[in-house]
């Protein structure tokens, strides 16, 4: 078998992409962003990403299960919102995502651990599939164990298409030293971009390099991320949160 490691395998019915969402539902997600609760902004962005996957999975009038999805919401516990991995066709048949209700704490390590378990069981059957992706959305410091070692272990797991990708969307007003005024022209967080917040710096260490194939898909959607950008989005406005979720669905498709 050829080990290409370049994230070019296309998601298809026979080789579906696996995306695991880890969604922080701590109490702070009740705070407002552009006059809406952060959790509502996230819900809308995630719904849009699901819609985008449906868009990319239709051939003729039929929806082909090119994506498989798990959604783990976490607070002090982890809640498997879809009861396991579901095909995009099954999610479309349900019609809408389960509600996201903020709770108390924010134990991201537990969520990453559960994602690791899912990947350990799925990866042996995914050798011809696109590299799986874990998309983590949070708005604050983890209250449990340090998630970084687990994220690092996840990033070292691989299929021939490449290592498992980890993306982080960090909702915060104090992440960048310069505001991002034009999200569509923004070049992204690079390895040498300095971040104001200690937790953001940790998340940066837990973020994969944006594969070129993903970058090209985002360019088609008119987002100008530069080569070398990391899979990390500062959620300072709803559009950037949305770009983050769109990034998670940018697996190449046939």
């Amino acid at each position: 078998m050829l080990f290409t490691m370049n994230y070019t395998i296309q998601a298809s019915q026979r080789t579906p992409a696996l995306i695991i969402y880890l969604i922080d539902i701590s109490a702070s997600m009740n705070m407002l962003m552009e006059d809406r609760r952060r959790i509502d902004v996230v819900y809308e962005a995630l719904s849009l990403a699901i819609r985008q996957m449906v868009f990319r999975s239709t051939k003729g009038n039929r929806l082909t299960p090119r994506y498989r999805i798990a959604i783990l919401a976490y607070s002090d516990d982890v809640y498997d919102l879809l009861n396991g991995i579901k095909g995009i066709d099954e999610i479309a048949a349900i019609g809408s995502l389960p509600d996201l209700t903020p709770k108390r704490f924010s134990d991201s390590a537990k969520a990453f651990l559960q994602a690791e378990k899912i990947l350990q069981s799925e990866i042996p059957n995914m050798q011809d599939c696109p590299a799986p992706l874990v998309c983590h959305m949070t708005d604050g410091v983890s209250t449990g164990d340090d998630p970084e070692p687990i994220a690092r272990r996840i990033m070292s797991m691989s299929v021939p298409d490449g290592n498992v990708l980890v993306e982080n969307i960090f909702i915060s007003d104090h992440l960048m030293n310069q505001p991002i005024t034009e999200p569509r022209r923004w070049k992204g967080i690079l390895t040498d971009t300095s971040l104001e917040d200690e937790h953001a710096r940790k998340l940066k260490m837990m973020s994969s390099l944006l594969p070129e194939s993903y970058r090209e898909m985002l360019l088609e959607a008119d987002y100008q991320l530069s080569p070398g950008a990391l899979m990390m989005l500062p959620g300072t406005c709803s559009e950037l949160v949305s770009i983050g979720f769109q990034m998670s669905a940018a697996t190449p498709v046939r």
Partner: protein, 279 residues
């Protein structure tokens, strides 16, 4: 749809004769066409196959292939419907049939007249595609996405062309080609590949849309005179056969069929069309 034919045809050893002077082939999109060889003034090979997924679900292929051989002139079109657009199978068929008609009836082929035809075809196709409806039993989210795609239109990539051999009444022949998209067209003369003559203009973002005609730029056109020399080979194929990209030499019929069968991947991963003319 095979209409008529005047040469000899080899399809895995089978040989048939037909009394008339024209051969016309049009892919049905609902079935496979094993590699077929025709020998006349042109020697022609063609094959058509659907992605394994489409075969399994009895769906139409999104490629469309058609050509006609009429004595010393041949006309051809290969379209690859864009899977992410609304009903790529319909777009490739409407575009392919429209272009074949244009190649048949247009005396002088030119970039300007092709552009006009592509625009004209978009109006016709848009009307036809708008008449298609999404099943009311379709889940809401899928229905919304399909309706959005329908509004955005249907798209296909294409290569089309005409070869006119030199004759007693036509001192110089002509090879005329036009394309948009990433389907492949390659040319050899005396076993030397001349494909670089077409330039680096095979881009996925370029295509025809039922809503606006050419997308991503104008059609690319290549035109050259043909003298009485022989040993030319013009080969066209869609991206479902991209394994051929690395093959420079003539590939035997059996090997083309092996690629079309794609047993190593349990069938084709994408629709595949193959067309080759030798003269």
């Amino acid at each position: 749809m095979k209409r008529s034919y005047a040469g000899s045809m080899d399809s895995w050893g089978a040989r048939k004769k037909s009394p008339t002077s024209t051969y016309y082939y049009e892919s049905k999109q609902t079935g496979e066409e094993p590699l077929t060889r025709i020998r006349d003034l042109f020697t022609c090979r063609y094959a058509y196959g659907r992605a394994a997924e489409s075969v399994k679900l009895s769906e139409k292929g999104q490629d469309f292939l058609a050509f006609s051989l009429n004595e010393d002139v041949c006309r051809f079109v290969l379209c690859d419907g864009v899977g992410l657009s609304y009903r790529g199978d319909v777009a490739s068929r409407l575009l392919g049939q429209g272009l074949m008609e244009w190649l048949e009836n247009q005396e002088e082929l030119s970039s300007a007249s092709l552009e006009r035809k592509l625009k004209e075809l978009s109006h016709e196709a848009d009307r036809e595609l708008r008449d298609l409806s999404v099943d009311s039993a379709t889940p809401k989210l899928l229905r919304e996405v399909l309706e959005e795609k329908q509004r955005m239109g249907s798209e296909a990539m294409y290569i089309c062309g005409r070869i006119e051999l030199p004759t007693r009444f036509r001192r110089k022949g002509r090879l005329w080609l036009a394309w948009q998209g990433d389907s492949r067209v390659r040319l050899w003369h005396k076993q030397r590949e001349l494909t670089s003559l077409f330039g680096d203009h095979f881009r996925t973002a370029e295509r025809w849309s039922s809503r606006i005609g050419p997308v991503g730029g104008k059609p690319h056109v290549y035109s050259s005179r043909l003298d009485h020399e022989s040993e030319y080979r013009l080969q066209l194929y869609s991206d479902g056969l991209n394994d051929l990209d690395a093959v420079m030499e003539h590939i035997p019929d059996e090997q083309v069929q092996v690629l079309m069968n794609a047993l190593h991947t349990d069938g084709l991963e994408d629709d595949a069309s193959f067309l080759e003319f030798m003269w």
